[in-house]
Amino acid sequence: MPNAVELKNVSYSYPNSRQASLNNVNFSVAKGSFVAVMGPNGAGKTTLSLCLNGLIPQLLEGELAGDVTVDNKNLRMCRVQEMAGHVGLVLDDPEAQIFGRTVIEDTSFGPANLSLPVEEIYQRAGQALQMTRLNGYEQRSTHRLSGGEKQRMAIAGILAMHPEIMVLDEPASALDPLGIREIYQTIDDLRLQKQLTIIVAEHDCQEIIGRADRVIVLKGGEIAWSGVPEELFRNVSLLQTFGIRPIPVSLIGWEFYQKGWIAFAEIPLGVIAAEKTVRDIMTKYNLRPVGKADPPVVRQPETKARALIQVSNLNYQYLPDNNVLKNINLTIRRGEFVALIGPNGSGKTTLAKHFNGLLQPSAGDVIINGVNSREFPQLARVVGYVFQNPDHQIFSATVEKELEYGLKNIGLDSAEIRRRVDRVIKFTGLEQRRKDHPFALGRGERQIIALASILALEPEILVVDEPTTGLDWAGVQKIMELIRHLHDHGTTIIMISHDMEIVARYAQRIIMMKDGSILLDGSTGEAFSNLEALEQASLVPPQIARLAARLRDLGFTADLLQEREFLQAMGRPVEVLPC
């Protein structure tokens, strides 16, 4: 089979950085195959995608060594614009890829650049929108689209260029589970109906598995591993070293494999396979499921603890007579770890903004710490709010100064400021970074800086809005361990997240939102065993919960959420997992 893409000894370093971002990369992609490029933040995934259509080195100068051949064309020979007809690159930020006021206008931008006849332009655009399930949206204003729709429009705009190869850089970042599913369904369609070659850069494995023919793992700009996905995802210890998140059920399988109960090839990668494996094991070693044992790490909140946040009949509207929040009632007590979940646009952020007075209720009341948020100016000291995107708040020339800003605002004296900055820098492990420019650091570290800048205020309540989007597994764990540590020391945590595995692992209570009202409010266990509520919010429970649900007949309770809990429930003491 001929190769669609071929890289020979490709090395590259950005003009303004010393160390190489790609280091002697060699690989080739067969026509019509699906290759996933994985690896931690800063591994070089984006850099690699930019090499595949000549943006490197034609737009971004710098040292490029080696040869990139796409469609039997050496990229040194052809301009990027001309390659657009052969290889399409979808960037990870959909906002910056919008060229039209309306959807159809945007999709026709590319073909119009090729100075095609008008009919063909509209024919191409229409077809591209069809492929991305956006037909019917032609006249919609591009600013009225949801995050997922924008992503798909970005794909459509590239499709209209009629490439044979599609390169997608984190096509589903910051989307809700439904949005992610739709993106990947679209990618499947492209493959099946148009026989495109697909190359995807992705953090998350759950979508890759069962789709990709091959995974290439980048680490520090070098290819650390390459092969079939199953090989990689079964090998949990390998994933640890690469900093890629393992599949929850595979962790259970890995445990069995470690015990020598199953062969490596039998490690399950899906819920169905896992069910079979577990049934076999249970019968083979006739294990009796025991009831759920509370995992020791999770601190239960004092049931009669003081109510810190009381929301009563809260309604909110950004625009007249369009309630974004509808009659919300809830109480959050000291020491709780609450997760706010729900689809995009369900009102999670809007609700959370009421907790620190960024928004005032249109109707109803929000009582923070016994005081009505309407007459309470200095909320920043009591409620810390960490926003999703650190780049929306960082403005200082050094990490240190960035952390001082908030403290100056609340009027502390310089000695106290120094003390708190030192403490928070130590706590978040930014000691080496003190004097660095925040934007000389990676995405993960900037996220930590944003968190630290709020922690320095030592708030009693911490709201974190999607703290883990765009972070690799190591970054996710670091952030979440910081948050858990705070929680253990008495901080009340309210976390907004689309990542059900994270929610299951860390939260104690779940508030599920849909269309601006609370769909469900209960313990994590209850929430994830309430399938119809999850269905309504188009959420999928974590794998382990799904597995446990399928094994009810054996006596497993559906409130098992983590592999540890599950293994304990299997009725055998287990060694510590590599995790």
């Binding site: 990027v80 006021r101 100075s115 929306h392 708040q393």
Partner: protein
């Protein structure tokens, strides 16, 4: 969207952008032709009538004039105290009173009239300006640039800039929220405090703009920007019959005006 194009079906909306600009030029000529307020008043009222017919939101437009009020007053005063010999007609040379002793700084009738003229002139031009901007979709301007054979880059930049305004504005709100939740309080004291206060908002905006521009340049090339020298334009502005009629009428009026001023010496002070 910040620039409100009022999507309506009035006569003026239907006109070609070029016709509107010709009309605007004609108006500019007329108001600078005559020195006498009454003539300018006539022009101003005509424009106002047109604006009303096009459904121009007067409250809003005039609201933007409030900051200019001191300027307007100063215009009146300074033009009021002009030298009498500047005026042709004796009536206008009469001095009402002198501000300073020894017959200095006299407030003349002609001066007052000149002041009125200037204000009316300004008013007419403002109404006309917003009339053009509010009745013309931005795409028409962009197509005008293409028709004027300006390089495509030019119209691309304008169009793209307008596309990005809502995006940037959303970022602005996000950034303000982020800084407020770090204790930034809007009501700072003193102008220095205010300047200090907007650095934490403006700097992230600049940083985000740079990042967005980097992505934009990549996206442009991915979509084949500048692949071929020429480019297909999906919509075209066209000169319709009504445009020809209107232009003819405008030219007629302007010529008439010039004749009145220089032929019949009307509207002088």
């Amino acid at each position: 969207m910040l620039i409100e194009y009022l999507p309506q079906k009035t006569f003026i909306h239907g006109l070609d952008v070029r016709t509107k600009l010709i009309g605007f030029t004609g108006l500019a000529i007329l108001v600078f032709l005559f020195g006498h307020p009454l003539y300018n008043l006539a022009v101003a009222l005509t424009v106002t009538a047109l604006a009303l017919s096009a459904g121009l939101p007067f409250k809003r437009t005039l609201g933007f004039l409030v900051p200019l009020l001191p300027v307007l007053v100063l215009i009146m005063l300074f033009s009021g105290f002009t030298q009498p010999d500047r005026f042709v007609l004796p009536a206008n040379r009469t001095v009402l009173f002198y501000l300073l002793p020894q017959h200095n700084w006299g407030l003349t009738v002609g001066g007052l009239l000149t002041g009125c003229t200037m204000l009316i002139r300004l008013f007419a031009m403002i109404i006309a300006s917003s009339l053009v901007t509010l009745t013309t979709p931005i795409d028409d301007f962009i197509q005008l640039f293409n028709k004027m054979k300006l390089p495509y880059e030019f119209s691309f930049v304008v169009a793209t800039a307008l596309r990005f305004i809502p995006t940037m504005d959303r970022k602005r709100l996000l950034i303000i929220d982020a800084q407020r939740s770090r204790g930034a309080n809007p009501e700072k004291k003193g102008i220095i405090g205010h300047i200090k206060g907007c650095i934490p908002i403006m700097v992230p905006m600049m940083i985000n703009s740079i990042m967005m521009a980097n992505n934009l340049s990549m996206a442009m090339l991915n979509r084949g920007y500048g692949c071929s020298a020429s480019r297909t334009f999906l919509t075209q502005i066209s000169f319709k019959r009504r445009d020809y009629y209107t232009c003819f009428f405008i030219i007629l009026v302007v010529v008439l005006g010039i004749y009145m001023r220089w032929g019949l010496h009307m509207g002088v002070l």
